[in-house]
């Protein structure tokens, strides 16, 4: 897998690097340019909705009503953004989201590693069924989970606390993480494990000194995914974080959807604010992501 990936990446990467430069120059024909143009056009099309959001975020409501959603903004009006920021105390909301998503990402990866170690490397009995169960739990719609979780959290006195959402999502995300990591770990090179054993490492040391360092690229990708997924969650935070001081970004955006009317310009401004952190996060962790979900194993 890794081998094929490196091969596939080589021509692209080599355009600017020392070893492959002459070879790449030879290969770049008219078809390569055609592909480039097509890709740029595609990227442009993908960016259109984003541009519409930006344009509407910068309009005044009067401009929106007069010219409609597709017209370019007449000026640079940041009132929508500022009003929304103040209305929902966005800084606080952002902090909530970061705390919740961050904790979930870390805890869920930790839980997944421990589970997957038992299932993939420990090969406990009935691991097939555990995995099938986890996969089934993964396909359950959240709407079905909401009521049982609500009663549980109320019994435990955790209703309307950020902790309840962290626990729920740690479990939900680690179900997927366990499934994925188990299959990665079941393909783990046995000789490595045996070598560690012969050197006298116990199970705990094998996990932290041998297994985790090798599957670390996969773990960091999972971390990023869990963060982004949890960030975008709507229904469970909506139900569990009822007071405004516990709200997350996606729930705060919902405040703008009125019963019959919507404020299109402010919604766009809010969407922009809600989107920026994830974009930023992607840019920071872009390299991790491009390494692919199943990267790893012996180098």
């Amino acid at each position: 897998m890794t081998a094929t990936m490196t091969k596939a990446k080589a021509p692209k990467a080599s355009a600017r690097d020392r070893r492959g430069a002459p070879r790449a120059a030879r290969r770049r024909g008219p078809s390569a340019y055609a592909v480039l143009v097509a890709l740029i056009a595609l990227a442009g099309i993908m960016l259109i909705p984003f541009l519409v959001v930006v344009a509407n975020a910068l309009k005044t409501p009067e401009e929106y009503a007069a010219n409609g959603p597709l017209a370019p903004p007449e000026g640079f009006n940041l009132d929508g953004v500022r009003d929304f920021w103040e209305r929902v105390d966005f800084g606080h909301v952002l902090l909530n989201s970061v705390l919740i998503s961050g904790s979930v990402a870390v805890l869920a990866v930790l839980l997944s590693v421990l589970n997957a170690y038992a299932l993939g490397i420990g090969r406990i009995r009935g691991r097939m069924w555990v995995l099938v169960l986890l996969l089934m739990a993964n396909t359950l719609p959240q709407e079905a989970l909401v009521y049982p979780l609500y009663y549980l959290s109320k019994q435990l006195g955790l209703y309307d606390t950020r902790l309840s959402v962290i626990i729920v999502f740690t479990v939900v995300q680690s179900a997927f993480g366990t499934y994925l990591l188990s299959s990665v770990m079941s393909a783990f090179p046995r000789p490595l494990l045996e070598a560690a054993r012969i050197d006298g490492a116990n199970r705990w040391q094998v996990l932290w000194r041998v297994v985790v360092p090798v599957v670390r690229p996969t773990l960091s990708v999972l971390l990023v995914f869990f963060f982004v997924w949890t960030w975008n969650e709507f229904l469970i935070p909506l139900v569990f974080l009822i007071s405004n001081e516990n709200q997350t970004v996606s729930v705060a955006l919902g405040v703008l959807q009125g019963q019959r009317l919507m404020d299109a310009t402010m919604s766009s401004a809010a969407a922009l604010l809600g989107l920026l952190p994830t974009v930023l996060f992607f840019l920071v962790f872009q390299r991790t992501l491009s390494r692919g979900l199943t990267a790893g194993a012996i180098k």
């Binding site: 009503a65 929902v88 009822i242 405004n244 009125g258």
Partner: protein
């Protein structure tokens, strides 16, 4: 392979963060409980610049002035959040002391049946709310033991009202030499005149409430109060294929054919339709008073409103309700707050901001358009002309109406459409 230092630090930081957070969670839990009559927790979902938002912000100030030492802790909520979570919130110890909630059988009625709402009947008589609110507006505030509106006990108090009216773009009427209609025959004539000039007369949104509200209004033109009570309050069995409904559906289908409403509006949202009207693309919009403030602020042409030409009954009702959850810890303060919003000062503020107050003093309203808005409502409510909304009677009816009227616009026979609506109605009726 051993460059783990940095990421380990990151992990540790995040883990530490989560621990701090857990501690926060514990704290937040603690101070939810003992507010000891020093705090009124208030939730509503009106935007700050809407008429209700403005009037209620005033009411909060007035309440705090009248109750020294009591703080109002207001949280602005999203409509959807309240809709989805109200039963769960009210059933927990985190319920607010007073909140805005949707009127109707499937919402406030259901909660009252589940015992989650405080019975406000004694307060309503003691404080005179039953005198302030007109009987036809009271219907949505009072529920019976089954949770059906029009009952005998107050479970909420409406402080504003809403109804449907026609918005006219006077500039377009003048430009095309058409007279603003006052009777139904004139309305049809005016629409013919516009079609002849190549202008689509009515803005419409098939993917949302606008389209089926036309059908209901047209049916209402041939209906009477017992018909409405049968349909909305199950007093007798409602026949959705009777003469009135058939007239409504057939006429609307006819309107689509004649081009009174655009055929391609079948997939539009109400927001699109409203914005198109405010851009001056359509001479008329038939929609609710909830657009009034926005049209006033954003339309750049001369306009006016009136009730549906020639209508004895139209769509409308009391607005959303103030409800007091059973679990509220400061019920007296909640009643006091509701009382303040019902007083003349708050009601006048509501009227002047472009809302329709339930207990208005028309003399206090200065702006002529708003005056007409309130006078029209008072006339309609006074003559028992509020017929509520077609999607109210059974749960999930809204989606049925939208999809069936879309079919109607696309050419399905009115009889078949009404048959499907009847099926959904019959299967959804409370047993």
């Amino acid at each position: 392979m051993f460059k783990t230092g940095r990421s380990a630090a990151l992990l540790a930081a995040l883990a530490a963060g989560s621990l701090v957070l857990a501690a926060c969670g514990g704290d937040g839990d603690g101070d939810g409980g003992g507010s000891g009559g020093k705090e009124l927790r208030l939730w509503h979902y009106e935007t700050p610049d809407s008429a209700m938002g403005q009037a209620w912000a005033e009411a909060i100030k007035e309440f705090e002035a009248a109750h020294p030492g009591v703080k109002v802790k207001f949280e602005e909520k999203g409509f959807e959040q309240i809709q989805k979570t109200a039963p769960m919130v009210l059933n927990s110890k985190d319920a607010p002391d007073v909140m805005e909630y949707n009127k109707g059988n499937a919402t406030a009625g259901l909660l009252s049946k589940q015992g989650l709402l405080q019975d406000l009947t004694p307060e309503a008589t003691k404080r005179g709310w039953d005198k302030l609110v007109k009987p036809s507006v009271q219907v949505t505030a009072k529920y019976d033991a089954k949770g059906t509106m029009g009952g005998d006990r107050w479970f909420g108090v409406p402080n504003y009202a809403e109804y449907l009216q026609v918005y006219y773009n006077k500039d377009l009427f003048e430009k095309h030499g058409v007279k603003i209609p006052t009777t139904f025959a004139e309305l049809t004539a005016a629409m013919d005149a516009f079609v002849a000039k190549g202008v689509t007369p009515m803005t419409n949104a098939g993917a949302e409430y606008m389209a089926h509200q036309f059908v209901y209004q047209l049916a209402l033109d041939r209906a009477n109060r017992p018909w409405v009570d049968a349909f909305q309050r199950y007093t007798t069995k409602a026949d959705l294929k009777d003469a009135a409904w058939t007239y409504g559906a057939t006429t609307f289908a006819d309107w689509v054919k004649k081009g009174y409403v655009a055929k391609n509006s079948v997939s539009l949202k109400a927001e699109d339709a409203g914005v198109a009207f405010m851009q001056g693309k359509f001479p008329m919009m038939f929609s609710g008073s909830w657009w009034f403030g926005r049209v006033a602020k954003q339309a750049k042409f001369q306009w006016e409103t009136s009730t549906w030409p020639g209508a004895k009954m139209t769509l409308g009702s009391g607005g959303n309700l103030w409800v007091v959850p059973k679990g509220s810890k400061n019920k007296q303060l909640a009643y006091d707050f509701i009382d303040i919003t019902m007083k003349k000062k708050a009601q006048d503020a509501l009227a002047n901001a472009g809302g329709v107050p339930v207990a208005a003093d028309p003399a206090a309203v200065t702006e002529p358009k708003t005056k007409k808005l309130i006078a029209d409502f008072d006339a309609m409510a006074g003559s028992d002309g509020l017929a509520y909304y077609p999607d109210w009677p059974v749960a999930g009816f809204y989606d049925v109406w939208v999809s069936q009227v879309q079919k109607l616009m696309n050419g399905t026979a009115p009889g078949e459409v009404l048959g499907n609506v009847q099926k959904a109605y019959d299967s959804g009726l409370p047993k």
